[in-house]
């Protein structure tokens, strides 16, 4: 009974995480930390085909790098009013990486804060460690190029 209850709690916690909606300050707070963890933040959306195509690569590395100081965060840019699409996608595909939906208002006010070279097209991926941006990439990854890019920053 107790185990059942704990499982239920874990289940609900995961559910809540899956559809978490964050603003820009919360995004900065989550990814800018004074530790040696590499935060790999991938901007995606459920309707974005090239984004969906590269998610398995992020998922694979997320499980391979579990014991490493690497944190993969899949940050959805779906419309806030369609957050249920994100939740459905996460549940259907059994996504294990940390996820959240970024609802940060006018993108013109925050895209440059991620990276000035970013046009706003997705997918895009940004890397932080110790509150510092290490790299930004606009466009998709293959499993190999993603792995190389993470390896380069963790060596």
């Amino acid at each position: 009974m107790k185990i059942c209850f704990s499982l239920l709690i874990v289940f609900f916690t995961l559910q809540v995480d899956a559809q978490k909606i964050i603003d820009f300050d919360q995004f900065i707070e989550r990814t800018h930390q004074q530790n040696d963890t590499l935060y790999v933040v991938n901007f995606w959306a459920t309707w974005c085909k090239p984004c969906i195509a590269e998610i398995p690569a992020f998922e694979k590395l997320n499980s391979e790098l579990k014991s490493s100081p690497v944190k993969i965060i899949l940050l959805s840019l779906d419309f806030k009013s369609q957050s249920s699409n994100v939740e459905a996608f996460i549940n259907k595909n059994g996504i294990q990486s940390e996820t959240a939906l970024l609802s940060a208002g006018n993108p013109n006010s925050w895209i440059d804060k991620i990276d000035e070279s970013w046009s706003g097209a997705i997918p895009a991926t940004v890397y932080y460690r110790n509150s510092e941006k290490l790299e930004f990439h606009e466009g998709d990854y293959s499993e190999e190029t993603l792995k190389n890019s993470i390896n380069k920053l963790t060596q």
């Binding site: 959306a45 309707w47 974005c48 085909k49 090239p50 840019l77 419309f79 806030k80 009013s81 006018n106 993108p107 013109n108 895209i111 440059d112 970013w118 046009s119 706003g120 097209a121 997705i122 997918p123 606009e138 466009g139």
Partner: protein, 199 residues
């Protein structure tokens, strides 16, 4: 000799950089001749206007879809001021069949587009302009014989909710051009679907 080599190298580097980046504010834009949904070829010069609102868009992208009705309204407003909307789809229809020329006709009919919807099949115009996503706007102003790029970016400040728009970037830019005042916001960024380049 070494200096010349460095100069040449820098020039090559610079030109590749410029090519990659596309147009910036103040650049002279090239005209084009692209096939419209009615089968006729359309160039900017054939439209004879004070300037143009060139919008790279497509059928499949949810961000582009959010702006279909708004583009129809925008064209009514800006055409009356001498700046008609010209929409261009540059996506690779092989990867995205929804963005084929046939489907452009269907969408334009459904949404009652009141502006040309052109097919940039070779993707050369998107590359030249430096369009990276949909929708991506370039406001061009006729100055002498040239078409100058005067605004680049989003249509307004709220993709998700047209009713909640506070700043109409494109309309503001055209109003400024009409009244010969500096454009307050010349460049903006928005989230969009990447242009689907041919592989």
């Amino acid at each position: 000799m070494k200096n010349i080599a460095i100069a040449i190298f820098s020039l090559i580097l610079l030109s590749s950089f410029v090519n990659h980046q596309g147009y910036h504010i103040g650049d002279t834009a090239t005209d084009f001749n692209l096939k419209n949904i009615d089968g006729k070829m359309v160039s900017l010069s054939s439209m004879k206007a004070e300037g143009y609102v060139v919008v790279f868009t497509c059928n499949h992208c949810p961000f582009a879809k959010k702006y279909e009705d708004r583009l129809v309204k925008l064209n009514k407003i800006t055409s009356a001021k001498g700046y008609p909307v010209v929409a261009i789809n540059s996506n690779d229809a092989e990867q995205y069949p929804e963005d084929s020329f046939e489907n452009m006709k269907v969408r334009a009919e459904e949404k009652k587009f009141n502006f040309p919807y052109l097919h940039d099949e070779s993707q050369a115009i998107a590359r030249t302009y430096g369009a990276t996503k949909t929708p991506h706007v370039f406001v061009l102003n006729k100055e002498g014989d040239d078409l100058k790029v005067r605004y680049i970016g989003a249509i307004d400040d709220n993709t998700e909710d047209a009713a909640a728009v506070k700043i109409k970037y494109v309309e503001n830019a055209i109003d400024a051009l009409k009244s010969k005042k500096p454009i307050e916001i010349q460049e903006t960024k928005a989230i969009g679907c990447s242009i689907k380049w041919k592989k």
